[in-house]
Amino acid sequence: MRAASILFRRELSLSWSGGGGPLLACGFMLCLTAILPLAAGAEKVVLSPVAPGMAWLALALASLLSLERLFERDLEDGALDLLATGPLPLEAVVVIKAMAQWLANGLPLALTAPLAALSLGLPLTLVPLTALAAALGALGFAFTGALGAALALGAKRGGLLIAIVVLPLFIPPVVFGAGALTRAAQDLPPSPALALLGAYVLFTAALSPLAGAAAIRNAQS
């Protein structure tokens, strides 16, 4: 447990050092949502039906931004060898890195998501649900993203590769997350969509550490 908390704290400090990556991702998310009214017209009838979907799309895209650095910089400077000779198996390292990614990047984005959705005309009553669903979805994005980052290790232009690998896998949480908000906006209970979103998170949290660790071992050999 001591090793896990040491690594977790290091990952958090790395996320926030060197220019405040999470804040940049939040800014990126708000920029995206600010462009939509300019592109599609600012009428409320146009914007408010797509507000949940647009907020989720922005969340998915903003979640990609910091993934390239998740394992690549540890591979480049040799720290990945150090992590592999430590007391925890690589699978646990992937879990810890994904959790730190969620806490440092996912949660700030999840708190920004309601702001983005509000600016597009989401009813104020849906703000808590938006934040909750986004926090859950961001956890799924963090695990799936960690898998993509591990698979792209050592590739040139890895960031682009990660986006291509990971974005299709982001479709289910976007569908379920935006679906929960759309149902709530129609006064239907959002819980079925949230349950499916939770199932996706459990699935990726179980699978991506195993697959990600295998991909890292492959990159190290």
């Binding site: 690594l7 040799g78 000779t85 007391p87």
Partner: protein
């Protein structure tokens, strides 16, 4: 010194290849407690690959790597240091932060960090970001983790190359103390280490 109990690394009939090229075949040797082995060979002979295979990063084509009765996973995660070409330091973090993380991650003992800072003369460097350190200073910081977190097996890849003559001698003293404590060293080198070593030449086995 000849019993089976003090074997820390045993390699038998090892064949290793990178891509299509076989680096060596039928390589066997043991490294015992208190013993330093200097691994030599021309560039590309497979010195780094052998070290990485022992550390578990490269799967051998044939042969066995064992650690004297200790489970390989256990040996690699708790009893082994690997010091490669790259120092594993984050440029934007201070030497103090990096040493603290590396030492604790690898399992330092109570006064490990203090001991390492003294042994490697790191006190004046601790508040500098590691990207501002010279190559030799970075190497000293990387070696510090091995002092702070004692582990019996040291796999070293050109450990002294960035160091000046004074520090080569001082790290040699640290290596000798490590051997006296029952540790072992397997080091890929071009220049001889400043301590008595057994020689293992990969050039000859190719």
């Amino acid at each position: 010194m000849s019993s089976q109990d003090d074997i820390l690394i045993a390699v038998s009939a090892l064949r290793l290849s990178r891509g299509e090229r076989t680096l060596f075949r039928n390589l066997s040797f043991t490294v015992r407690a208190g013993e330093a082995v200097a691994l030599t060979g021309v560039n590309g002979a497979g010195k780094t690959s052998l070290l990485r295979a022992i550390a578990g990063f490269i799967r051998p084509d044939a042969g066995q790597i064992s650690f004297g009765g200790i489970e390989p996973t256990e040996a690699r995660s708790r009893r082994m240091h690997l010091l490669g070409h790259l120092d594993g330091l984050k440029g934007a973090r201070t030497a103090r932060e990096e040493l603290a993380f590396q030492a604790r991650w690898l399992g330092n003992d109570a006064d490990g960090e203090v001991r390492a800072i003294t042994a490697l003369g790191l006190a004046p460097l601790l508040d500098l970001e590691t990207r501002k350190l010279s190559a030799g200073q970075r190497r000293r910081l990387a070696i510090a983790r091995m002092i702070a977190a004692p582990r019996p097996i040291w796999l070293l890849d050109e450990p002294l190359s960035p160091l000046d003559a004074d520090w080569r001698a001082r790290v040699g003293v640290l290596m000798r103390a490590h051997l006296d404590d029952g540790g072992s060293i397997l080091a890929a080198v071009h220049d001889p280490l400043p301590l008595p070593t057994h020689a293992l030449d990969l050039g000859a086995t190719a």
